[in-house]
Symmetry: C2
Amino acid sequence: MSELPRAERRRRTERRILDAARELFAERGFERTTIRAVAQAAGVDPALVMQYFGSKQELFSAAVRVAPAPVAGLGPEELVEQVLASLGMKLGELPQASLAMMRSMLTHPDAAASARATLSGQIAQIGASMSGEDARLRAALMTTIMLGVTVGHQLLELDELRDVPPEEIARLLRPCLRALTGPDVP
Amino acid sequence: MSELPRAERRRRTERRILDAARELFAERGFERTTIRAVAQAAGVDPALVMQYFGSKQELFSAAVRVAPAPVAGLGPEELVEQVLASLGMKLGELPQASLAMMRSMLTHPDAAASARATLSGQIAQIGASMSGEDARLRAALMTTIMLGVTVGHQLLELDELRDVPPEEIARLLRPCLRALTGPDVP
DNA sequence: GCGTTGAGTCAACGAGCGTAGAGCGAAAAG
DNA sequence: CTTTTCGCTCTACGCTCGTTGACTCAACGC
């Protein structure tokens, strides 16, 4: 039917499966997403998904594998703006891999481990850009604050946050985060 | 074996089932918790759980049914303290019913609806205690902030937040919430 | 051309799940 | 003591899931 070379055809199919998996994992989470549903969304036989990824768990790992956005920090000012920018991105088009990971992080052990690693990395980066005794703790709070806002907006889709422009949220959140960066500028 | 009256025996068994259900739902979420596991933890036959609660869904509803702590607000000062106190409770002995609801809110549709209702109620209460144009939005951000910190601490159990006394977290979070209450005192 | 490789399908297995109904034995009612 | 009630168990059904191995057929190397 199609006259594509085998390697290209293979890559495209694999990508279709991964895209479908990301979308379904982000929408329903790990447990409620079935291999059969992913295969159907990708227009493929369920056995092929297994053949390519080995198991549902490995499919999930491959689907949520994404490069975490680095927070190269300088002063507190830029730090807050960068964190807020990551929220702006999150409120806009947060990559579906991240949504998939967040959706499952409370119920799927591997997603929880992945989320912990990602968040700890972000906390370490933010903490390194701050000074003060409890910089690490303040960085952790900044991160969990962003996590909560993102969860409430993107996953729970709270009415009070829906249809609110990201800049408005960022504007209100800015002094809130400033209160955590500490008084001193490194 | 036991010589308890029937009504009392029934009530105790039902309570044992509900306690086991709450613990397992809080620990593993809705989908990973099986009726069989709840029954075993309660020392009871799985069919009895069905007989008492009708379905797994109704068992979950009964398990997470809990009176939401009211936030009777006055001025911004008391408001912040009250929200932080609710966090203090949350970081201490947050009722397992709430943990069960939070654990499942991202993957189980009914838990999501329940969480939305609870959070919206809290947002409305906080918003009613504040003045200003976007009081509702600021209340929503306060609520999601607390949600994020609670999730990161209680459910994800981030290393950076573990072993941190609640007062320390409350101390750092206080100016953060103050920045959202707005300048005016009603 | 021709055998080989590999993408993709088909049918099915085994396990675990939520759930239903019959039955048992002790407490309550008479 | 007899009958009824009901807390509780046992067994099993039906379904869906992840996963597997045999198969088909078009693309590839020679």
